[in-house]
């Protein structure tokens, strides 16, 4: 009744697929902000939104070539980080949290507003910005490829290759940064801002740099994902997505270079398997599980993530592999 090999194959496909890449990039950004600098960015999805829409609008409405559209997207992430950081980075951590989540919601409302339809496509979404992305692809867009027993469509395979390359470069960058004296200052700020100040470090500047860098990773994540899907819809960028990325980060372990990526892979592997299991188990005339409606499966994913996030914070704040003494968050 439950087809286990399909479950596993789908799980593996999800663990290397576009969603994993997207959330890995969001979580890499959050890792810089939350893991290393202690900043609470609850609007990471907003950075993905400005990245994706920055690129989309630049290409569709201003006729820029794709590469400069990507640049516009990244710049939009930088600008958003500056705008949000200036008022909040001198205040207590929760102000940044509130402002970032509000800003992400503002951005989503603006892009979906009917008054913006001509510009952002409103709720219809935006397409037609990313054809150039698939041109250099060595794969046949419409063909299925078999990679280690998992089937991928050619166009997805190309996105996945590019995505993981970007993730790899991002990890190298993060690795170089966090083992440098710059990373040391960031960790010091996370531990105790006043101590860092007393040692002559300009805390505000470092926090801003962390916010901008993390935001840029978010924007790049949005760009890569938008190039994969080839269409933008505002409601994809809703607040819970940020918390998916947090869940991934905490699963993999905050303040570890590979934490966000491993966390994102585990996150989507588990989510895909539970999703598929529930869908199979609740489908048909004589479902294995009868008390859950087949149509509620989508909502159950959010409940699992929510409960999982809370339980992780209570019982394993150091992540699945972390060491209890490395818990970063108990001091506050």
């Amino acid at each position: 009744m439950i087809d286990i090999s399909t479950l596993l194959a789908n799980g593996v496909a999800a663990a290397v697929g576009p969603s994993t890449i997207f959330f890995a990039l969001l979580a890499i950004g959050l890792n810089i902000q939350f893991g290393y600098a202690g900043l609470l960015n609850f609007g990471q999805i907003g950075f993905a939104l400005v990245g994706a829409y920055g690129m989309g609008i630049a290409v569709v409405h201003f006729g820029l070539p794709l590469w400069s559209g990507v640049l516009v997207g990244v710049l939009a992430g930088v600008v958003l980080a500056l705008l949000l950081g200036i008022p909040t980075l001198r205040l207590r951590a929760d102000y940044l949290a509130i402002v970032t989540i509000a800003a992400a919601e503002i951005l989503r409302l603006i892009t979906r507003s009917t008054s913006m339809t001509n510009f952002s496509g409103g709720t219809q979404g935006l397409t037609g910005y990313g054809q150039a992305f698939r041109q250099p692809s060595p794969f046949d867009n419409g063909r299925f490829y078999n990679v280690f027993g998992v089937r991928f469509l050619g166009q997805d395979l190309w996105s996945i290759c590019v995505g993981w390359a970007v993730v790899g470069l991002s990890l190298i960058l993060v690795f170089l940064l966090v083992r440098s004296p710059w990373g040391r200052v960031l960790k010091a700020i996370r531990e105790d801002e006043d101590a860092a100040r007393a040692l002559g470090k300009n805390v505000f500047v470092y926090k801003m740099q962390a916010l901008v860098l993390g935001g840029v990773f978010g924007a790049i994540g949005g760009i890569i994902f938008a190039l994969t899907t080839q269409s933008l819809t505002p409601d994809f960028y809703s607040p819970p997505q940020t918390f998916f990325a947090y869940a991934a980060l905490i699963i993999g372990g905050a303040a570890r270079v590979f934490g966000p990526v491993i966390g994102s892979m585990i996150f989507w592997f588990v989510l895909s398997i539970t999703d598929n299991f529930l869908r199979q188990a609740t489908a048909g005339s004589n479902p294995l599980i009868s008390f859950i409606d087949n149509q509620d499966v989508g909502a159950i994913r959010f409940i699992l993530v929510g409960v999982g996030l809370a339980l992780l914070m209570v019982f394993r704040p150091q992540g699945i592999f972390g060491n209890r003494s490395e818990v970063l968050l108990d001091a506050r």
Partner: protein
């Protein structure tokens, strides 16, 4: 030393002086009585007001108040519908006077409540959109996008979409509102009253948020879900169990208080005992919010559901202002509750204890106040207020309906109001929320209606730049 949350009002010397008074058995029936009077009293006042209005239930359609942002489920990335394979649905929007309505947003929800598509009518009133696969869908007009002066008679249509046909969906519109020529000043008064009403509703819910922050330091991101659950409980009692809305609300408020107390006992008290960091607690509240919101979705569904009472009301003319009875009742109930809260804080033992704990937790504890009990009471109060606020929010702002995401959209406005007034202050929270409410309604006159919550959120950022401690906060409290 644990970081201490900012205080409400009063000062340490006060707290010490009050210690004798508070130390001995302050927590008894008088407290419960105070709570009941503070919450139920105004409800009865409201009941009288509304009761008087029942015979006047509208034969004429009501003006439809705007609804808040409808933010549907984020679509799982792998499941985005591909428009090429879908089925087209269309229609034309025509007002009762024959005018074609442009720029009206039509949304489609599938049976799980997920929004699957939306579009906007063009200049000839025509709209067309595509649903991904055959099935039963709910088509809804976004009332915020309906031009002023146009009433929606039927804004929601359920339709089975089958392949091979071109289904038309017809929405019905009513007469032009009132037919009165509104002057600019009358319009201004209307907007102001609208704003005050909305601000009071935000304030009722926001005070709980602020009190929790003040006494425990927790920024409770799950507060919006308390609002939603409260409204859903009231809706269930009202619609499913057939209880009159006022009594349904009274019961729901009690349930809400219990729910607040239970969350404190089951989650937050153990977390405090473990000395969990405030940021860890904040993330936990996020997880909780997410889980609760989608539990409500499973139970309640993704559609807006109407209360059984007070859905259709006409505006009564009071000379200087026309207002529906339910809006008037909302204002009266909110004001009465807020005055009750102020009296509670100023006059009762528990209120003074709450202020003392918020001002200085350790000093309060050493003065003989049972801090955990005070916090428990704050949670119960916040739960009760959130429930009442949820019902009033649905009744007055969402056109008499309840939605599973209503709490989250209100949460951001609560944060805006509470920060504007000064995080952790009770009276500041109220002032801030009023300002946000008025701002939202006023800004809706100048910006597209579906962006009207923007003003409230933008003020959040502005206030942080110019006066981060809020209007009534003190400088030392923002770290």
């Amino acid at each position: 030393m644990r970081p201490r949350p900012p205080g409400l009002v009063g000062n340490s010397k006060d707290a010490a002086a009050r210690s004798d008074d508070l130390a001995s058995g302050w927590f008894h029936l008088s407290v419960v009585r105070a709570l009941v009077v503070a919450l139920v009293g105004p409800l009865i006042v409201g009941a009288v007001l509304l009761g008087a209005a029942v015979p006047a239930l509208a034969s004429q359609p009501p003006p439809t108040p705007p609804t808040p942002s409808q933010s549907p489920l984020p679509q799982p990335p792998s499941e985005q519908p591909s428009p090429e394979q879908g089925l087209p649905v269309s229609g034309t929007l025509r007002n009762a006077d024959g005018r074609l309505l442009a720029g009206v947003q039509v949304q489609v929800f599938d049976s799980t409540g997920q929004q699957v598509a939306s579009t906007t009518s063009n200049t000839s009133g025509r709209w067309e959109l595509v649903v991904p696969r055959p099935g039963r869908y709910t088509f809804r007009i976004d009332p915020r996008s309906v031009p002023r002066g146009v009433n929606v008679l039927q804004g929601e249509v359920v339709r089975d979409v089958v392949p091979g046909t071109l289904p038309l969906v017809v929405f019905r519109f009513g007469e032009q509102r009132g037919g009165l020529q509104t002057t600019a000043s009358a319009e201004a008064v209307r907007v102001l009253v609208d704003g005050i009403r909305f601000g009071l509703v935000i304030g009722i819910t926001g005070i709980g948020l602020s009190l929790i922050f003040g006494t425990t330091g927790l920024t409770n991101f799950a507060h919006g879900e308390l609002v939603t659950i409260g409204a859903v409980v009231a809706w269930t009692l009202n619609v499913t169990a057939g209880l009159q809305l006022i009594w349904a609300t009274v019961l729901a408020v009690i349930v809400g208080a219990a729910l607040g107390a239970v969350t404190d006992l089951a989650i937050w008290r153990p977390m405090r005992r473990r000395r969990a960091g405030l940021i860890a607690q904040l993330v936990i509240s996020i997880g909780l919010a997410l889980a609760l919101r989608y539990l409500v979705l499973i139970y309640f569904g993704g559609r807006s559901e109407s209360f059984a009472d007070y859905t259709n009301q006409v505006e009564r003319n009071y000379g200087f202002i026309s207002i529906t009875d339910k809006d008037l009742a909302t204002i009266v109930i909110s004001l009465a509750v807020l005055i009750g809260i102020a009296l509670l804080l100023q006059r009762t033992r528990i209120g003074k204890a709450m202020r003392a704990v918020a001002d200085n937790r350790d000093l309060a504890a050493s003065s003989g106040i049972n801090v955990e009990r005070v916090v428990l009471f704050v949670w119960a109060l916040a739960g009760a207020l959130a429930t009442l606020g949820g019902v009033l929010f649905g009744l007055s702002e969402l056109g008499g309906t309840v939605q599973y995401e209503m709490g989250f959209s209100l949460l951001l406005l609560m944060f805006a109001g509470v920060i504007l007034g000064g995080l952790g202050t009770a009276y500041g929270a109220l002032v801030g929320c009023l300002v946000v409410g008025v701002l939202v309604q006023v800004s809706a006159q100048f910006i597209p209606v579906d962006l009207k919550y923007l003003g409230g959120l933008a003020v959040l950022i502005v206030i942080l730049v110019i006066r981060p401690q809020g209007l009534l906060g003190s400088r030392a409290r923002i770290g």
